[in-house]
């Protein structure tokens, strides 16, 4: 993968992280007093919150793999 593509992916990862972080605090994730629709018996905010965490985790994996290639660190030793 070219460096330019990696930089684009890194940028998109940051933008997605920011948008998702903002959406968490909207009624899309935390509707006041509403716990439906349920998923596998889990109330709405809990399963959507879990989904958000899994997305964050996915972004960490993508971010780690791209960041490590763009920004190389000099070895300590």
């Amino acid at each position: 993968m070219h460096m330019q593509s990696k930089k684009i992916i890194w940028g998109l990862t940051l933008i997605t992280l920011f948008i998702l972080s903002v959406l968490v605090f909207t009624p899309l994730v935390i509707p006041k007093g509403i716990f439906t629709p349920e998923l596998f018996g889990l109330p709405y905010t809990l399963w959507v919150g879990m989904l958000v965490y899994f997305f964050f985790f996915l972004l960490i994996i993508i971010g780690v793999s791209v960041h490590s290639k763009i920004f190389r660190e000099e070895e300590n030793d």
């Binding site: 605090f25 007093g33 596998f40 919150g49 660190e73």
Partner: protein, 470 residues
């Protein structure tokens, strides 16, 4: 249960002695002692970071938080932690780069050098001191009360506090950070195992997850959504907590030091992803334990709920493992925090290495004594006190972030405004200033203000642009 308790306790103590001896053999210099040789691999890194993060706060506090305040607790902690793990490697990369340039013994000393004034270091150290000591103390108090309830005829709460602090001082003063990291690894494995089993048992009691939440709905439907039965999870509360939590790798020295001491950046990347993975198990388990408690023990005080959920509802062997796991959790997290404070103190000293080291060891002992005094005086609000600690230290985030990313000396205004914010935040805690002004939480207002001041300072002073000296 008692038989298993003694078996696990003896096993745990023997492991502690073993790792301390192993650490002593590896400590060949003062930096080895204080910074574990800065040679930590991914697996040990994941376990030590997880242990520093998932403490009694997770074991006792978070299940109780779910039980009392409902599913909004998932947004309060796991969601914020998800971004925090991202912050770990992004900020970790910047921090390690800066540490190579200016040297690192502790964040306070590093900031003094970057800002070219000792005041930067003093503010960083004071914030860590003010907000970590009560946090350590509340954990020790929690476990002391817990042990007193289980073994009413053995020791009073202050007696257990002395035992915990005593063990903590002995092995950290002997084995240094390496010993703490090894013990963290034991604790993390114990915690993960116990929480996974108890979380599973919590669902098994109801048959399945759907039945569990159906019963929660019958007990109190407001637990299934925000803001929860006590109206805690407002958008402002969640947002202010989110900001304080994602800044933990920046502002709390037990986390930043664990990033710096990793062998290289490759291992740091693995650490961030690994802790994120462990967190999934930990948070799902704590949520299930808490929601199960909402049905089975809705009106009980925290202490009694935890005793029932972790001990009396479990088979003897699991209950015994939970007691030892909880003891290990408090021990390693408290030790991590206290030792990090010691490192911060050392980084501010300017005498020769041996004298600094001697003073650091004395300081560690004094900090432990202060923790003991506090642990006899604290309230039982573990999660909210932890949140206060996170929010308090987050006020100095601008100093550290701007200091780390700047390519030349940052402006003094960053220190001044961070210090002022810290004071204002403290005044709100003592009710000398309302915690909500003009319908806005003061901590959230301070975060916003500090953000814009930092951006302004960076661009006006052009600290993000490197200029070669002529």
């Amino acid at each position: 249960m008692i038989k298993w308790f003694w078996i696990f306790s003896i096993g745990f103590v023997l492991l502690l002695v073993f790792v301390s001896l192993k650490a002593i053999r590896k400590n060949k210099s003062i930096d080895d002692f204080m910074l574990a040789g800065s040679n930590i691999g991914a697996l040990l890194g994941i376990l030590t970071y997880a242990a520093a993060l998932f403490s009694a706060f997770i074991f006792i506090g978070v299940p109780d938080f779910f039980r009392v305040h409902g599913v909004g607790a998932w947004i309060f902690l796991p969601v914020a932690d998800g971004v925090m793990f991202f912050m770990m490697f992004w900020f970790g990369f910047q921090l390690r780069k800066k540490a190579r340039e200016v040297g690192y013994k502790g964040m306070a000393g590093m900031m003094s050098r970057i800002f070219e004034t000792r005041w930067a270091g003093y503010v960083v150290f004071i914030a860590a001191f003010i907000f970590l000591i009560p946090y350590v103390a509340i954990q020790i108090r929690g476990i002391s009360m817990f042990f007193t309830a289980i073994f009413p005829n053995a020791l009073p709460p202050y007696g257990w506090a002395i035992v915990i602090i005593g063990v903590m001082i002995i092995y950290s003063e002997i084995g240094g950070l390496k010993a703490i990291i090894f013990s963290d690894a034991i604790q993390a494995v114990l915690l993960l195992t116990v929480l996974a089993i108890i979380g599973y048992n919590s669902v098994r009691y109801f048959g399945n997850v759907k039945e569990l939440f159906d019963q929660v709905q019958q007990v109190d439907a407001s637990l299934l959504s925000v803001p929860g039965p006590k109206n805690l999870f407002t958008v402002q509360f969640l947002l202010a907590s989110f900001l304080a939590i994602i800044l933990l790798p920046v502002t709390q020295p037990q986390f930043s030091s664990r990033i710096v001491i990793m062998k290289n950046m490759k291992e740091t990347y693995k650490m961030a992803a690994g802790v994120g993975l462990i967190a999934i198990v930990v948070f799902i388990a704590t949520a299930l334990i808490g929601m199960s408690g909402a049905v089975r023990y809705p009106g009980l005080p925290t202490q009694e709920f935890i005793q029932n959920a972790l001990l009396f509802d479990q088979a003897g062997v699991i209950a015994a493992l939970a007691i030892v796991g909880l003891f290990a959790a408090v021990l390693s997290t408290s030790n991590a925090q206290l030792f990090a404070l010691g490192s911060e103190f050392r980084s501010l000293l300017s005498r020769d290495e041996k004298t600094n080291f001697r003073w650091t060891k004395i300081a560690l002992f004094v900090f432990a004594l202060i923790v003991f005094v506090f642990s006899t005086q604290m309230s039982d609000e573990l999660v909210l006190l932890a949140r206060m600690s996170f929010a308090g230290t987050s006020m100095i985030a601008p100093i550290i972030i701007v200091g780390v990313i700047s390519k030349r000396k940052p402006g003094i205004e960053i220190i001044v405004f961070s210090c002022m914010s810290l004071i204002v935040f403290l005044l709100t805690l003592f009710n000398l200033i309302p915690s909500v002004l003009y319908n806005m939480r003061v901590d959230l207002s301070l975060h916003t203000l500090l953000f814009f001041i930092s951006i302004l300072s960076i661009f006006i002073r052009k600290t993000h642009i490197k200029v070669s000296k002529t």
